[in-house]
């Protein structure tokens, strides 16, 4: 029966909804913008934004898979970009990147330990870190931006880490694709993924089967911190400058992208590819508003409306798929 097959497909592939939305939006934007939106230069900009926001989104999706949430990623992104730029002037950018990612890992570990050891809701813990590390970023820069001189932007490691292009696209996209492949393999085909989804689906059941759910959650927070920090590094590499507000409100976009992409906030069900399509949709909307001359202030308002509508639409779609 075709309807039953379609229901099965929707049930197993949570990302179908967002792919449908993406196709419709691309079509609508291309037609309505008269070529201003759908050209290589603009698309490459969207891809670059998708790459850095996408890395953060992948990490957030992993935490959501365990039934928790991490809203501190915007600050992690910001701190990492500052650390990376500051160190890149002094040591090889590859080592600067490692240091920045290590800070992301530390922030993730801090969040994860507090959540798993104290039982404090992750929303509260990561709200705290969001403010702590944003405050630190603003304090460290004293409100000023600092940048890396042009002559320092030609080294191989700087170029590879988001500071250059390959086939006209920012090198950040390579890292995003790599991260997607590795994490998808881990999620679908390895023990860690099975236990991560089990922890989000029913923490108590997973625990009763011998899964160390605390460690699983901690690993998700650590990976999330590392990915957000790496995204910050690539963004700083692309811009060559950073200030205390880098990554501000990006945590909301990352969460929105996850929800749009079919990740269940209650945990246990995520789609990494879907979350990335969600990121692409958000970047596309932002870029469309810019090229059409709409004031960027409208973006957040529109984002909110789209997230609410998409979450509602996704719920309706799932209810239909689960109906007999």
């Amino acid at each position: 029966m075709p309807a039953a097959n379609l229901k099965n497909l929707v049930r197993r592939h949570a990302e179908l909804g967002i792919i449908l939305i993406a196709v419709l939006l691309i079509f609508a934007f291309s037609v309505s913008s008269g070529g201003v939106w759908a050209n290589f230069y603009n698309i490459s900009t969207i891809v670059q934004v998708t790459a850095t926001l996408g890395l953060m989104t992948l990490g957030v999706a992993l935490v959501i898979a365990t039934g928790e949430i991490d809203i501190s990623v915007g600050s992690t992104f910001g701190i990492a970009s500052l650390v990376y730029l500051w160190l890149s002037l002094r040591i090889d950018p590859a080592f600067a990147m490692l240091a920045a990612v290590a800070i992301g890992i530390l922030i993730g570990w801090f969040n994860g330990m507090l959540v798993t050891k104290t039982g404090t809701p992750s929303l509260i813990v990561t709200l705290g870190s969001l403010m702590i590390f944003r405050g630190l970023a603003i304090a460290l820069t004293s409100g000023f931006a600092f940048s890396i001189p042009y002559k320092a932007r030609n080294g191989l490691s700087y170029v590879i880490l988001g500071g250059g292009e390959i086939f006209g696209l920012n090198t950040a996209i390579i890292w995003l694709v790599l991260a997607l492949i590795v994490l998808t393999m881990m999620l679908k085909y390895m023990r860690w993924g099975n236990r991560l989804l089990a922890t989000g689906g029913s923490s108590e059941s997973a625990l009763s089967r011998g899964v160390r759910t605390d460690r699983v959650k901690l690993s998700a927070f650590v990976l999330c911190g590392a990915l957000a920090a790496f995204g910050g590094v690539l963004e700083a590499g692309k811009l060559g400058s950073a200030d205390g507000s880098m990554g501000r409100l990006m945590e909301l976009q990352a969460i929105a992208a996850c929800v749009l992409g079919g990740c269940l906030l209650a945990g246990g069900r995520i789609s990494l590819a879907g979350a990335l399509v969600g990121t692409f949709v958000l970047s596309s909307i932002q870029s469309y508003l810019v090229v059409m001359g709409v004031r960027p202030q409208w973006f957040i308002l529109l984002l909110g409306i789209i997230v609410v509508l998409a979450a509602w639409g996704d719920r309706l779609l799932r209810q239909w798929a689960l109906s007999r």
Binding site: M190, N194, A198, S208
Partner: protein
């Protein structure tokens, strides 16, 4: 049939949840090759006791010995590694995962490709499908189907099939026949006897004393977190044991002193 020394020995166990005393000075032994019925009303402490044995709760006071070794750390992973399989009423399955993934959760088989351990899906599917079919799962249910689509009885079948497949030294069954049809119930009871005859310790938790009296070698009765009776089924009839529950253990104390 039974071994000489106890496989599990529980000494003076206390467990508090805040101010609430869930277990009160419980001491009980379980031997390999015996089927013990753990009986009591709701809230008697049966499930709490087995949750200590399977590592979910650590006791506040008292000692637990497994095969002569004192248990110092309580975690389900350690209990499973020791060979304790538990079939619990409301937990054990993750609705969002497939039957095969649930079946092997926590002990997923892997095969290495370029040294990287990937899940061995073929083994997971084949074995879980074979085992759960034996427990009456419909032919049109695939091991790739998510558990949320199964009926209550089918969910129980997956849990029992899993425990039997991984059976090691102890199988704890917490109200295993809930949600099951009469035929399925008989099948589960036969299975419990079969496991015992293979030399395993089977702890069968229920509030139906008449059902478990037919199967068990020994009945342990609990009430308000305390063990109020521990008697072999040869020495007391089901009716007498029911009387014990009604009187809160006073009858057995007299008998044991004799």
């Amino acid at each position: 049939m039974t071994a000489q020394h106890p496989l599990i020995q529980v000494n003076n166990l206390d467990l508090f949840f805040g101010q609430f005393r869930a277990l009160n000075n419980v001491s009980v032994d379980f031997k390999s090759g015996e089927l013990v019925g753990l009986v009591g009303d709701n809230g008697a402490g049966k499930t709490t006791l087995i949750r200590v044995l399977c590592g979910i709760h650590a006791p506040t006071r008292g000692e637990v010995y497994f095969d002569g070794q004192r248990v110092v750390e309580f975690h389900p992973k350690l209990a499973i590694d020791q060979g304790i399989e538990t079939i619990q009423q409301s937990v054990g399955l993750c609705d969002n995962l497939s039957i095969a993934r649930n079946f092997y959760l926590g002990r997923e088989p892997v095969k290495r490709i370029l040294g990287i351990p990937f899940l061995d899906f073929r083994k997971m599917r084949d074995i879980s499908a074979r085992v759960i079919r034996e427990f009456g799962l419909r032919e049109n249910v695939s091991p790739d189907d998510e558990v949320e689509r199964l009926s209550g009885g089918e969910r129980q079948s997956v849990k029992i099939g899993r425990a039997v497949e991984f059976k090691n030294r102890v199988v704890i069954m917490d109200e295993p026949t809930n949600h099951l049809s009469v035929r399925e119930r008989e099948h589960v009871n036969e299975l419990a006897l079969q496991l015992r005859s293979q030399g395993l310790l089977v702890i069968y938790i229920t509030h139906d004393i008449f059902q478990v009296h037919k199967l068990a070698d020994r009945i342990v009765i609990m009430e308000n977190g305390e063990k109020i009776a521990d008697a072999s089924t040869d020495s007391m009839t089901a009716e007498e044991l029911e009387e014990v529950i009604r009187q809160g253990g006073r009858v057995v104390e007299k008998r044991e002193k004799k």
